[in-house]
Symmetry: C2
Subunit: 542 residues, 2 copies
């Protein structure tokens, strides 16, 4: 919801209506204390909104005879300002015509926040819980075991199964590579997935330094696959149906990786075509590339920027367009919610091939560049075109919103904290209907920043002149250059402290899941970069 | 024009066709050496383009019986990312619906460059010459004499007079306050103008510390007008017709300043209504506010951002809409070219009231944030809607482009270097038709950066690790964070050196105009901030 920070928080109305103690949400869902405060204050308004939402969904179900399909598209490392509609596209040498049309015809989120990096964001959308709570607060890496999306977590796919959905997953999973983690053991009826991106595809015993990584050179450690002869077998793209043992579709190779976004889109399109006429609604995931340094499809290497990033972006935009065309051609677009977002900000280690954001900060950081990312929702007839809400939305919200749209909010477990809030009213009723005006920004184990309305408190100050705290007004200063404008500072201290204390108190009651990884055994005698002793070819006796 | 940098510059084709010496342009206009190279190479293409442009303009003149009107709107300190269509607007708490519609229905320039600050940019558009050449390479300040737009300069208003235009100027002039500098002595038939913005309106003997500056507090030196009792008379808004002695419309006061953008827009609308049916085409200038710290119109103080900047932006957007409505209502839009651009980047001294840009750097700097600014051209029926060219355009180009559209290129004097190039082909034929792929970025006396296609060479390196030079690829890295990607560095040294050497050699032949200001005499005994000797009210005898 949109509230004027100062007037609301200092005003008597809310203070009086909120007890100041941690209260249980009115539903069975355990939400964070800050949500419970808002829910109490806006009870009447939210109830009216929710009734309108239920009416719209019921009318649609009446019309189509089943619940709406959901297409969820996750792009990799795409910064806030990368799409044309966000000021990028051509400016970055990579036009994004299809995603721009998606935004024009749907809802473009101006204040959407992911987690700081890849696996954490993916786990957050699957569970509706911040990574620190579900245990997946780190990136999975090749060779790791014991670390991934815990079986005890309840995923959105499992919830949608309860609602009668048929669920498909295609693309980069990156939430663990053991049996417990398989998408087909986490609620998906069928899946074809890769555990990760470049590290899996090239830290592979078949990799060659001469493998084609997209045709663009790069500096530092990113400019070739390797090391050759690496003894660890990273596997390949897997395929399975629920209850089946997965089989390998093909081992990881850079040749395949170059075209992987398009290959995954082909699988998604085939799935949609096959499931469109079913009595069951479908939930299909296209978790593609975007800006993830290595690899460029041979058909998309002629961008003005001449980078892998630009090639991937143009290819991913094209593939998103192909999926939308499939929905339109099949006549099911009006009964299909399409969600597109990036998983986190750019990865500058691979510059110029790892994406970009005009907002400072990147992947792995809670600065705006790391977590404020582009996001779009599209649903012809249900979501009004051309909307650009400034409402805060966090990636965990998709979990709860999808559950709400499918009518299975009552299946969400009540024994754990759910961070995602139901944003179906924002989608269907428009700007100002978000059920959050706060975001907790975690970076791995640590709470690094808290957003409340326009104000962001940075708990890890970097400016030596402002050690006590750094608060930014994100409307005045989206790039976080001017900490502690006077009018913010007055409130940011005690106001934020209250929010954080209540947040921490709830963790005592609902402890985090502990997921601890370790590394597999492999031939540790292998030395990939042993430098031979140098003996000059020409010597002179003297 | 769009050229792939590496292939073009290292390729044999161009090298062979260009002599490497400074050549005279084929027209009488003296252009810089780099333009002459391009003109030779693209002679055939440009000639064909120019013929198409002439045909379109001739057909329009046939239809309307006169040359097209020109509305030129200059906004103050609006950063590249401030308009909704550039990723700002609501994101900055200041929606810009009218300017966004202007962009949708016209041409939005993605690579438009101004000069680094106010008076220099204004002089550049008036003369088609970089400030260093016309002498106005500094900001005029209250109390200065002898400094401004030299009478010997030939302005676009003077050229358009030759073409039969009736010229009006309304708003912030900021190019000198003496007789020589008056707009009505620089080609305008009528004018109502203010010499500058806040410094004139508040460093005024009638200013009071309690004057309403917009209702928003601010830190540091910006938070009140002052000093009270200042003995220097900064004057007021002037009005004149050509050949008349100007009269003061009203003295500068903050009360007037708060509504100045709207007052100026009223004058522009009255002018357009009065001149619409004339046999003469008109050239009218609306040089308004935008993001210039002090002052906020009482009707526009309710923005989400709650800053003067946001109020001014919303007000200026509204006033631009009013002017466009006037053109449409009068049925003259199809015979009227509308140009809108900012004069330079934001002024962070006044944060949060001085504008913003996600691009680092501001007013007074040649970093992208200082000089890459929003710009839009609109001309229903002549400029195709929805265009977003990446073509380089520099603010001096408006001079030459307006002269071209009015058919008076042959009146441009041949005794001085003209930096502006004719961009009428870009406007009327579309993306890729810019006649420049280079920009010289001057900061007051110094050449600080040179752009060639995607590469920008910073001649004032700031990173201690890259003392020799800093080159950026502006497509890869619009925020200039990663100097000297390997592929750029190879060319940036010798390639840029050639361009700069030829540029400098031309200055020997066509020296810069020298304009030297000095300060007026006034009561220097006045001490505005004399701190009284402090005597505590409570004392104790002991």
């Amino acid at each position: 919801m949109r509230m004027k920070l100062i007037s609301t928080v200092l005003g008597a109305a809310i203070s009086a209506s909120m007890s100041g103690t941690i209260a249980q949400s009115q539903s069975q869902i355990v939400h964070d204390a800050e949500f419970v405060r808002l829910e109490k204050h806006f009870a009447e308004q939210w109830s009216a909104d929710d009734n309108l939402v239920r009416e719209k969904l019921a009318a649609l179900e009446e019309k189509f005879g089943k619940k709406p399909n959901i297409v969820y598209i996750m792009a990799d490392d795409v910064g806030y300002t990368e799409l044309g509609s966000y000021g990028g596209g051509k400016v970055r040498g990579a036009p994004t015509a299809n995603l721009d049309r998606l935004a024009d015809e749907g809802m473009r989120f101006l204040s959407f926040y992911s987690e700081v990096e890849c696996s954490p964001s993916r786990g957050a959308v699957m569970t509706g819980r911040h990574p620190i709570r579900n245990g997946l607060f780190n990136i999975t890496l090749p060779g790791q075991v014991g670390f991934g999306l815990a079986g005890e977590e309840v995923t959105i796919a499992e919830l949608l199964s309860e609602a009668g959905y048929y669920n498909g997953f295609f693309g980069k999973w990156h939430m663990g590579e053991e049996e417990e983690h398989y998408p087909t053991n986490q609620g998906f009826d069928e899946a074809e997935w890769s555990e990760g991106n470049p590290p899996w595809w090239v830290n592979n015993k078949d990799a060659k330094a001469a493998d084609d990584i997209g045709g663009f050179t790069n500096r530092t450690l990113m400019n070739h696959p390797g090391p050759e002869g690496f003894p660890y077998e990273t596997g390949g793209v897997m395929h399975a149906k629920k209850g089946e043992e997965p089989t390998m579709v093909h081992p990881y190779t850079m040749e395949k990786y170059n075209t992987y976004d398009s290959d995954v889109a082909d699988r998604v399109i085939e799935f949609i075509e096959r499931r469109a006429d079913s009595d069951q609604p479908f939930f299909v995931n296209f978790w593609g590339k975007g800006n993830h340094f290595w690899g460029a499809h041979p058909d998309f290497r002629d961008t003005p920027a001449g980078t892998n990033t630009a090639s991937q972006m143009v290819e991913h935009d094209y593939n998103t367009g192909r999926i939308l065309k499939t929905l339109t051609d099949l006549g099911i677009a009006e009964n299909t919610l399409v969600i597109w977002n990036s998983d986190n900000g750019p990865m500058y280690t691979a510059h110029p091939h790892g994406g970009y954001s005009l907002l400072p900060g990147g992947k792995g950081e809670t600065k705006e560049g790391g977590v404020r990312v582009p996001a779009i929702a599209w649903w012809p007839g249900m979501i009004e075109p051309g909307q650009e809400p400034m409402d805060l939305v966090q990636i965990t919200d998709w979990f709860t919103t999808m559950a709400s749209i499918a009518g299975v909010m009552d299946q969400i477990p009540g024994d754990r904290i759910i961070d995602g809030v139901d944003q179906s009213a924002l989608l269907l009723l428009g700007e100002g209907k978000s059920k959050r005006d706060y975001v907790f920004h975690y970076n791995r184990e640590n709470l690094e920043a808290v957003r409340k309305d326009q104000i962001k408190l940075n708990l890890k100050p970097t400016n030596p002149a402002f050690k006590f705290f750094e608060a930014y007004n994100i409307y005045h200063d989206p790039a976080e250059r001017f900490p502690n404008e006077l009018e913010n500072g007055f409130w940011a201290g005690p106001g934020m402290s209250r929010i954080i204390q209540e947040h921490m108190a709830m963790i005592q009651k609902y402890p985090h899941r502990q997921v601890v990884g370790k590394y597999r055994e492999f031939d540790t005698n292998f030395d990939p970069e042993a430098t031979p002793v140098y003996a000059p070819k020409l010597t002179v006796d003297w």
